[in-house]
């Protein structure tokens, strides 16, 4: 694009030297990271480590979208906020931390929740989107908006001792609705079921890793073919990790298929009908 920067300052050379020495990165890779923009939706248990490593690595532009405020009772997993920032919007607290970690990053904050009203415009401004949220409705919304805007989506989630990570809507890979066409009847949250900090932390850190890989791939630096996958983690299983090959884009998908119906105009004009496509009315107890 016209805004691509072709140079690094002396300070940047020194700061990123330990990763530029990797032959898979080098100067072209570091410039690719600098010229990439990443939107992090949710600055909680996943978004904190994801933002920390993405900023540290030299991604040039970072958007932080979260309407919530810092709460001491979440600090066991939201580890770039702090006790003294209680009550501050998380997006601002995170920006303050990240800017001292790496002053070279340009950081935009959005103190609001993702919604059908705001998300299309915000997503359009970034190259890569990270879903670091914590509920089913928002996960479907983010996926549908990424499909409409043709943006790759790096999505992670965690509960109790488990985590999941998937790259959606990239190359011929699936979108979230290709994997999960219909909302699930049962919804639990970290507040109700609990979550261990380093479990969600590991998933968020792995999101940062996949972000760097994707940024290098989108700018032509990393030429390895993309194979759609999902990573599954459980702290108490042996093996702890499964790396699964998944389906490609589905013809039948209502979001990304040739007969898609969940377009921007549908989402914006039929809010109450859209909700039923993103959240099933629970038929059974919410106690799973």
């Amino acid at each position: 694009s016209d805004n691509e920067q072709e140079q690094l300052s002396h300070e940047e050379y020194a700061r990123y030297g330990r990763q530029m020495i990797l032959p898979e990165i080098g100067l072209p890779g570091q410039l690719a990271l600098k010229n990439s923009s990443v939107l992090i939706i949710g600055v909680g248990g996943l978004g904190c480590p994801a933002a920390q490593y993405i900023a540290a690595a030299g991604i040039g532009t970072i958007g932080l979208l979260d309407g919530d405020v810092v709460d001491k009772n979440n600090l066991h997993r939201q580890v770039i906020h702090s006790t003294s920032k209680e009550g501050m919007p998380k997006a601002l607290s995170a920006k303050q931390f990240l800017q001292d970690l790496n002053p070279h990053a340009k950081i935009n904050t959005y103190v609001e929740y993702a919604s059908p009203q705001n998300l299309f415009e915000i997503v359009a401004a970034y190259d890569i989107i990270l879903d670091c949220t914590d509920n089913q409705f928002t996960r479907y919304l983010i996926s549908d908006v990424c499909v409409w805007n043709e943006k790759p989506l790096i999505s992670a989630s965690a509960l109790q001792f488990e985590g999941q990570l998937c790259v959606y809507n990239y190359c011929n890979g699936p979108c979230y609705r290709c994997m999960f066409p219909n909302p699930a009847p049962v919804v639990t949250s970290c507040a109700k079921s609990g979550i261990l900090g380093p479990v969600v932390g590991t998933m968020g850190t792995m999101q940062a890793l996949e972000t760097i890989k994707l940024a290098l791939s989108m700018k032509g630096i990393n030429k390895e073919p993309f194979i759609p996958f999902i990573l599954l983690f459980h702290a108490f299983r042996f093996p702890q990790w499964k790396h699964i090959r998944i389906r490609s884009r589905q013809q039948s998908c209502e979001s990304c298929g040739p007969h898609k119906v969940l377009t921007r105009s549908f989402i914006e004009s039929s809010p109450s009908e859209y909700v039923t496509r993103c959240d099933a009315t629970p038929k059974a107890a919410k106690s799973l």
């Binding site: 949710g42 488990e162 639990t188 599954l232």
Partner: protein, 98 residues
Amino acid sequence: MAIKVELLGGLDMLFRKQKELSLELAELGEVKTLRSLIHFMAEKIESPTQKELFYLDGTVRPGIIVLVNDQDWELLDKEDYNLEDKDQVVFVSTLHGG
């Protein structure tokens, strides 16, 4: 002729916290497809409200994916996949937390 079934994403809660089980393929009856396995697993859940969290309209409920030997069942024949000796099947429910 046995297979291993693992439960992830909280699904072990529906099966008395069993994380995994070994099955003789013969236990599934004549037809040894994933469909038979899903039916067999659903029969293990006594409470109807709990069963609905696993089994709906003849297959796994929305939000559950099925993996065979580290592959999405969509890359195989889904419900019609014929189970083979030593197959490793995983039922996993999608997580939404973060």
